[in-house]
Amino acid sequence: MIPKRDKQAVGQRFLAAFRAAGAVEVAPDILLPAETLLDLYGEDIRARAYVTSDPLRGEVMLRPDFTVPVVQMHMANGAEPARYCYLGEVFRKQDPGEERPAHQRDNEYLQAGFELFAHDADADAEVFALFHRLLAPLGLGAVTGDMGLLMEAVRALPLSPARRDAALHHVWRPGRFARLIERFSNQRATRDFPEASAPWSGLRGADEMAARITRLRADAAEPPLAPEWPARLERLFAIAAPLPEALARLGELAVEWPALRPAVARIEARAAAMAQGGIDTSAIRFDASHGRHTMEYYDGFTFSFLAPGRADWPPVASGGRYDALTAVLGRGCGRAIPAVGGIIRPGLVAELEAGA
């Protein structure tokens, strides 16, 4: 067991490095209003976060991550470009399912983070290079992805707007997405909607149901998605290789799927910026499906740093671009701010350093 004090010291080291990289330190509250987080993350966060109640503030949550309070702080009084850093505890329940693991994972641990709000195209590379440099002595494996690539790929499928929106909505849920694509690929028997004898009940309106039935009837008349498209999607999702090789394969795919070109060019430019910063890109992996299993609001570049031989560990560091999150949080004030950032888990770094 590594004393908390030592983990704290490791965190302070990263915090100092983030400050040296131009970030302003912020210290968000530990007790956060639960409503915003629940609305954003849904039941996933309720299963993981500690919710309690305050007689005046209502439902509050022990900080499950820093991103939301930092974005809110920036929206309230920040101006771009802005760089923020922080160090503090986050709290996550670890429900083991049916069996308790031999080594229970921590339910409170430190995060040291860096967030960059900027319209600058090189912001992704800046954040990644910073994390890469700070973590270099640990010999971690770096994996990157790009949710923007997947979303642009889906947008370019020859689908009706209703089908396209459904597919986009489920990009983060691979099983459900696969079923949708399978459904779109097959002509289906027209569905019946037999009259119900039960009276209307509940808040969902009869008009909402009628709209969905109209949509489903129109959907049944849609031509099936040609078989080359699911095959191309499968090829795209399966690309997982060192970055230069992955780019070559993306380039090949873009020959028959020209809509991918802008995203591929963006990934190329990012790789070039990384290389210019002295990073050996052949040691960085690109996994096209990388962001699909992370938080829904990462909608562009994603990255994680993994400890080799520790398959049961979460990433030692992770991050990405989350413009979609700032768009949702900025709904009220009509603002969306390009944002990219990441966190390091000093506790895991301390363990790696102690074992070395």
Partner: protein
């Protein structure tokens, strides 16, 4: 000494008593119907503890009883990591109930979970909040919906009269235990097609730390394999 926990009331208690009686062990209440002390005849070193059915999982996990009868639903809902503490010994053939997801019967466009997921997405877009599912089985329902990649919903706690929440507009759907479905129909709800969230029945469980020789002898007498 093996402390055997059995539900203290009603039909479930009687069915437990019958199950043990068929295997040569006569359980009964000591004295009047109002007493929660029990008597055991036909087995050595076994004490009967009458408990509320909902408390049996917790008592088993803590090792305050060595054997207990409870529903698989309650064990899985209430005990995180239950296999580390309990041994599931034998289904007992009664107390059958399914944990199901039900929606208003008037939803003609909702047959299965795919429909439900699509409706939840539409509902959230139209109403600005997540479709509400009333239940007291939070962990089971959440894990099941997560494994089927359903998003756009939220659970609302309902510890009783759950079937009424839809008509009262405090929820759009419910997840609850049902055996015949009669209460659901009476409240104008229908069960989604496909497998239920969980099929539950009364089951004999043991505390994992109590699986010694004494337990082996008693289980042999009952004709139950030791896990």
């Amino acid at each position: 000494m093996i402390r055997l926990g059995v539900p203290s009331k009603g039909r479930l208690m009687e069915q437990c008593f019958d199950w043990f009686a068929t295997r040569g062990v006569r359980l009964s209440r000591a004295g009047s119907d109002r007493e929660y002390a029990g008597r055991v005849e036909g087995a050595e070193g076994v004490a009967l503890v009458l408990l509320s059915a909902g408390e049996i999982p917790r008592e088993l996990a803590a090792g305050r009883i060595e054997l207990g009868v409870t529903g698989t639903d309650l064990v899985r809902e209430k005990l995180a990591g239950w296999r580390s503490d309990l041994v599931e010994l034998a289904p007992m053939g009664f107390g059958h109930a399914d944990l199901i997801l039900a929606v208003p019967a008037c939803w003609r466009d909702c047959d299965d979970l795919d429909d439900f997921a699509a409706i939840a997405r539409d509902f959230r877009a139209a109403h600005g909040f997540r479709l509400r599912v009333a239940t007291k089985y939070h962990r089971l329902v959440r894990a099941w919906l997560a494994s089927h990649e359903v998003a756009d919903y939220q659970l609302v706690d309902s510890q009783g009269a759950t079937e009424g929440t839809v008509a009262n507009q405090t929820a759009e759907a419910i997840a609850d235990i049902t055996s015949s479905g009669a209460t659901l129909r009476a409240n104008n709800l229908k069960i989604l097609s496909g497998a239920p969230i969980l099929r539950s029945q009364a089951t004999l469980f043991a505390h994992r730390g109590a699986m010694g020789e004494e337990m082996a002898r008693f289980l042999a007498q009952l004709g139950v394999a030791a896990g």
